[in-house]
Symmetry: D3
Subunit: 243 residues, 6 copies
């Protein structure tokens, strides 16, 4: 049985990570998971929010948004509606938490990095693509801070790497990295964020149609862990390339 | 090694479910998980939101909120701030999804049930207490709909039961049903929503300080599944009692 | 002629004042006027709003809100609507003014007390129950401040006591402490706030259907003054009891 | 003892009512109570809000606002702040209730009249000036509706007239129609709305500094009733003049 | 061919500028361009917004708004809608820019002047009337600052004068100072802001129905320059009169 | 004297128009004016806004926004601030008006096209790039509507083409198509929108520092008209290429 786009159940979509996309940002990445394209920019500023001043520690946060016509049907702009929807809030918080899991605030010093993840085109898995791309933009912004001596010599603000992938059960079969059509039909949907050394940062599984049992959960976790392993390698390759 | 409040690692706090708390609502429950107290009311109205009209199917949704001084330090009211925070949105969505997992919309017919979960006092685990209590309020509202013939004779809008509990790793030890002090110190924090027959509806695990490995994840899932089993029994006993 | 619930025209509903309802707040009271139940919490913080800094004077303010299903029909949450309605604003302001009438800001020193009055169940007279209960919560918070030496020794921030009651003309008869059904049918409706020594802090009378003459106004004021006298005694008894 | 501006305690400020101020509105009045100037326009539209459709009854409502520099110090625009303050809400509601007290909805038929009361210059008593002027604008809009046959022949949508005045105790002396400087120094402040036949529509008394006793309350009510009597005569004269 | 109101194509409507309209503001002008009436107040405060502190330079800004019934059909209040519309923003920005073109910030020193332009009655050309009137209010506020020594002796914060007028092509004919009926029917509509010495500050031309060619553009610019010349003379006369 | 980037005064930056950028939108263009990059998508839906229903006419509108880090310094998201700024409103309105100048609503029929112009990278001239690119996206969406028979056979909803360019006076020299650094230093700044046949749709000139005279205005208009002519040719070439 093959998938909509011909992949095997444990196969990722074509993944690309294009660094240095924007001339202004300290780190900027256009990441693609198949037709899902997310522009991730990392903005570094000296100083921290007021509640953190004087602690000697930095701060990392994220904002996620979709362009109105990134999806099949145009959505209303949240700026026009005057408020941010629940889904947007939830994903922004998830991206921020995921990246902070690999940040050493002391080593970062009193600097703030904001990751903006703007979905230019959506085809499922936008939040996992955003995390995977944002990590690379974050790494570039950290390197920038080191070159500019904003971080003390010899300190490494990143304690590891982080990537994310979606998994789900579609027609009874556990699949890796769902595209939109698979996502819509999934009985269970799970987003998993892992560190480069294979541990979990976030596990968010939701029964969309039918509750799932322990065995199914285990199968999904196996798939996700393997997928994140491959994403980690792709991130490393992108960062090793000359920008 | 005993816990802050003397419990064993796999012990729930004292749980109470008080039905019929409000004279107005079709279902109303004051649920306590130790010092966490949540008032859950179920409001039934005939008809459904516009986007669902004419489908013959019902709708169930939830809203979560905290009273300003339910916590140790007073928080600003979201109505005064003029917008709902990300955490509130996220929990409201979680409660709604969890309850919808056991609802048969066709059997419910074109009726809407809104679950309001207002935290009167918070001491950790407010979202899991809310889900556990809201299910009982939902069951009462459904029974009300059946008595009033708003649901067709012989139809059962509930396909099962649902409850939720938090688990976490504190000082390296997996613990069930964290109170606030434990929650603050947890290295990993997980909320698990189960059906009465032991399957999973939601699994949301977050590494607060250190990423967790597969073995730790398994230990947490074991604890949570057992805890939900006990909560299911408490829900059943509450519903069997004369209101 | 007896009333809907069998009371005489000058009879209060059963009044209960339950102190120490919340474990977090410096003062907390669950007050009932019949089926109307309001949770009043007093939150004390050191310091005052910016515009009052350096004056040596304290500040007391109040916020009123209703849970969505405290009423017979569920109302939309103001946090979801993104703005506070006129009625909510008006009642919050009334409660704040009423309490400030018995506060000596100099004696309070640069401390702020916020009274949150959340209506858990509504059956008429929510604002007068809120004022009556909030005074007791305020007294407990002040006592807390004295025990913690946040108030200078020998200073008494409260210059008196305050309570409130509604009166109205229903079917031509002046009645004390209207329940919801009476309130709806009232030709004239008046809320009166009195100090413990029998003077007036607020008098707010509104002709709902027919304008009222001076004689009717006098009859209502007589009823209200007597009712507040009884509420003052109930407040005193509550505060004299061991919490 | 004479007042700041030389008036006796029971004397109104110079009152002017200028009809037909705007070329667009169905009724428009520039009312002055001394230096307080309020532009009151009545906008008539056929039809009623959705919740009132098909009842055969009309609707009357009001909105109050102050120009930013109507006061001594410029205030922020509520449109710029993005929300309406509590005071604005409260006064808008008061004006609407006061006017509705003399409206026969059945006779008005399914027409809506909105009274906009915009304070061009403020010197105390803006809400009472607004009510007094808005009544005249309302009467003009009703006459317009009658001329245009929007109201059934022989029906009179106005059941009486309404006017309002402030009173207060300043330095122990009850005074009529406070200007801003008196208002700031008042121990007690009361706004009274009366019908043309001398009955009360609203009585709103507030102790600003010291609670007031029954005798003081009576003195204020006497002053206010007499003041409204004189305002009624001024309104009548204005309406009898050729526009 | 004569215009709706009998004017020749290059004729302004009757223009009046009434200074000292408000007793509170440092400068206040009621300006009329025919039936268009705008109240312009200039509020002077010592100090500047935070981003400008310590520069030794002042700031001038403007806010434009329309009363709800200034137009033929009542519009919703922007304060009630909770947000300012695009047109309001755009005109506020235009007025501010136009006035700043003749302000020497250094000479003004760290003072702020806010121009509020509130349209009391609209009949076309509200933005050009607002600019023309606001300049006079600004000049009065500057003179006030000089008398109060808020501006250093010998410094002149105004480098010139500014006025504005609309022009348009209606039925193929270029017309000066359009009234509402002409504005609605215009094929091309242009607002022009000039300094007193005949140079341009703003030129905003819009093809409403048909694009315009270079020759038409030239004709409109000729008309507008001449109109602004006459407005400049009227402003000068108003400022030379004893207030 | 050469420009910052070596161009002659009347030279455009390198212009690229990349069609078919998005797989979802009916028309989508990534337009570059040098380092300014704007993603323009055209979303076609059957039906029109309520106020236009039943007229047989279509509607075209536009929304403009900037990604937070499209600029040198990160800006706050308007969705997070909860309101749209004046500049955003103004540019959205300009783009919409410019495109509507070449639309025949009757021929379009009751269809709506929304143009979203999202600035991915900003280096001056974002609004003129947006108009130029949006026209091409609009043309593609119209062609789509024709292929899908949403537009009646033989009807052409576009009456012409439209493009836009900025011009300005920098150091006394009139320049075409300003980049950000030139824009900041410009004494006068003008945006001009032209049809393909060389007529004007919008002329918006602003004196940033010094008012400009008629001669300077003429020089700017000459430059802009020539620039738009070249942009028209580039648009035509892009549309003639196979997508």
């Amino acid at each position: 049985m093959s998938r909509i786009d011909g992949r095997t159940p444990d196969q990722l979509r074509p993944i690309t990570i294009e660094r240095g996309w924007s001339k202004h940002a300290e780190g900027s990445v256009l990441v693609s998971f198949g037709d899902t394209k997310v522009l991730c920019t990392a903005s570094l500023t000296e100083g921290v929010p007021r509640w953190r001043k004087g602690t000697g520690e930095g701060w990392v946060t994220a904002e996620y948004a979709m362009l109105p016509r990134s999806t099949n049907t145009r959505g209303d702009r949240e700026s026009v509606k005057g408020k941010i929807g629940g889904r947007t809030h939830e994903i922004s918080r998830l991206i921020g938490r995921s990246l902070r899991a690999v940040v050493d605030y002391k080593a970062l010093g009193e600097n703030t990095i904001v990751l903006d993840c703007d979905v230019l085109q959506a085809d499922g898995g936008t939040r996992t693509a955003a995390i995977t791309g944002a990590y690379v933009a974050l790494a570039d912004a950290v390197a920038f801070a080191q070159r500019k001596k904003l971080v003390k010599a010899g300190r490494q603000p990143l304690t590891g790497t982080v990537s994310a992938v979606s998994v789900g059960i579609v027609g009874g079969v556990p699949l890796l990295d769902l595209c939109y059509e698979e996502d819509v039909r999934a009985e269970t949907d799970m987003n998993v964020v892992c560190t480069g050394d294979g541990r979990f940062v976030e596990v968010q599984g939701t029964a969309e149609a039918t509750p799932f049992d322990r065995e199914e959960l285990n199968a999904l976790l196996d798939l996700a862990a393997a997928g994140c392993g491959r994403l980690t390698a792709i991130q490393r390759a992108a960062l090793e390339a000359t920008e």
